[in-house]
């Protein structure tokens, strides 16, 4: 009995030594499509297992501040990256992409533009003010001059952009503001998409954490995003250059 136990433990210990190195990337939810797109290539070239944690940037920044084990952080806005910098775990961050904001309505909706967002009885859904997408959306509404009227119709502050897409594509909400890149093939048939002509440009920053146990790999991942292939993939997914 004891011999079996010892054998099992030593086998487990031996197996652990053969595991590939891990690179843990915490990235904004809106980067999910493009990051999973470059995962396979990066893993093959560097002999590493890339583990992603996709969530609202504000959640990730909080986790990083609490000491979560992360090697690379990609945030959807500067305030969340600043939180990571303030925590001391990030020193330098670089912008690697921009995005655009769009107004979405259900495909059978009757809203034809941002001016109608103040219509009485309309149900507007946005990401919460603490979420990058929600902050950008509010800036955009302010710039369009419809902020007060539209926010009077706000019925929910979603925790991330997917919540907004979900509620609008299901027809529960009449309008929402999301990133252009969030309108994926899976939902495009259920939505009417209207670009917003504003100067607000969501910007994405990436940084390798200073206490990462894999600094070379982390730096390589950051470089990949800035490199030609990474940029091409980003643009393929609808992102704009930095």
């Amino acid at each position: 009995m004891r011999a079996t136990l010892l054998l099992t433990i030593s086998l487990m210990a031996a197996c652990r030594g053969e595991q590939p190195r891990e690179l843990r990337v915490a990235a904004a939810m809106s980067l999910r499509g493009v990051f999973t797109g470059l995962e396979a290539g990066f893993e093959a070239r560097h002999g590493v297992d890339v583990v992603f944690n996709f969530a609202g940037s504000q959640i990730l920044a909080g986790q990083i501040a609490e000491g979560a084990p992360v090697d690379v952080f990609a945030a959807a806005d500067e305030p969340q990256m600043r939180r990571a910098i303030t925590s001391g775990r990030v020193k330098d961050a670089s912008v690697f992409a921009h995005n655009r904001l769009v107004l979405i309505t259900p495909v059978d909706g009757s809203v034809s533009g941002p001016a109608e967002l103040g219509r009485p009885g309309l149900r507007l859904v946005l990401a919460g003010p603490g979420v990058p997408a929600g902050a950008y959306a509010r800036q955009a509404l302010l710039e369009l001059g419809v902020s007060q009227a539209a926010l009077a119709n706000l019925v929910s502050n979603e925790e991330n952009v997917r919540g907004v897409i979900g509620k609008v594509s299901a027809g529960e909400a009449d309008a929402g503001v999301v990133y252009a890149t969030d309108v994926t093939a899976a939902v495009v048939d259920k939505l009417k998409v209207m670009p917003l002509t504003v100067t607000v440009q969501p910007r994405y920053e990436v940084a390798a954490l200073v206490d990462s146990p894999e600094p070379a790999l982390a730096a390589a991942f950051v470089a990949e995003l800035h490199g030609a292939d990474g940029q091409a993939l980003l643009q393929q997914h609808g992102f704009l250059s930095p």
Binding site: V125, G130, E172
Partner: protein
């Protein structure tokens, strides 16, 4: 406690140690929370309009929901325990489903039934009753996830009442309603207290179904758990204080509730 000669109290000791460890497991997170809060911060949070709105909304939604659970769950538990109808096993399974479903999934299910394009929701919308994004919607979400706790506790209690007591009352000429009121109800009092407490506590802490079905808007649908989650993302200190406030309120009410109903 031990029956083996020569080893007095060993089982007792082991059980006490393990039980003590379990108690520490529960107490440690609370102690951690308290250690992070400050009296000044706590007082400031209590004065914030967001916190007050969330607190009142939580109490309102959870208590209205508790009433609904009692109104609908009590008869359901009685029927499940006492009436043998075809498909009873399926009914029992259905009732316990919300306990097994992740709350967000419950919210999605509620949308498919009561949403604007839902099964019943579409018809309701035509007569002007819209549940998503309203306080009533929050009540529906909370009722959906917490009623099973009341129903299952009560069902077990109804089934365990000695039938001879009720039969005796019947032979003495009491009507069905009278039997229920004077024999059955007193017998299930402790279970009723436990069921109500569980149901209410579950409802107070509900998050996933509420945010998915009713949304998240201060003053209308942002109950305490939603407010805590919001605060956690931008101001962790505020979140801790909110949690402590919620804990204090629920603990007080829970203790008072259990004390009043199970007192004989």
């Amino acid at each position: 406690m031990s029956l083996r000669p020569g080893r007095p109290g060993q089982a007792h000791l082991v059980l006490t140690l393990l039980g003590g460890a379990a108690l520490v497991f529960f107490a440690l997170p609370l102690v951690g929370l308290v250690s992070r809060a400050t009296p000044a911060g706590l007082w400031r949070q209590l004065g914030s309009p967001t916190v007050q709105a969330a607190l009142w909304l939580s109490l309102e939604v959870s208590l209205v929901s508790l009433g609904l659970c009692l109104l609908l769950g009590f008869p359901l538990a009685f029927v499940l325990a006492r009436v043998a109808f075809p498909g009873r096993a399926l009914a029992r399974g259905l009732v316990s489903l919300p306990m097994v479903l992740p709350p967000v999934v419950g919210g999605i299910a509620l949308l498919s039934a009561f949403g604007r394009k839902g099964l019943l929701g579409a018809a309701l919308a035509k007569v002007g009753v819209v549940l998503p994004f309203t306080t009533a919607g929050a009540v529906v979400a909370v009722t959906f996830v917490s009623m099973p706790f009341l129903v299952m506790t009560l069902e077990a209690a109804f089934a365990s009442v000695d039938p001879r007591l009720e039969q005796a009352a019947a032979t003495l000429g009491a009507s069905r309603w009278r039997i229920l009121r004077t024999v059955t109800l007193p017998a299930i009092r402790p279970a009723l207290a436990a069921g109500l407490a569980l149901c209410w506590a579950r409802g107070l802490g509900e998050f996933g179904a509420t945010i998915t079905f009713a949304g998240n808007l201060e003053g209308r649908t942002q109950t305490m758990p939603l407010a805590v989650y919001d605060a956690l993302q931008t101001d962790p200190e505020a979140a801790i204080t909110l949690v402590l406030v919620l804990l204090a309120v629920s603990l007080t009410l829970l203790m008072a509730l259990r004390g009043r109903i199970s007192r004989r």
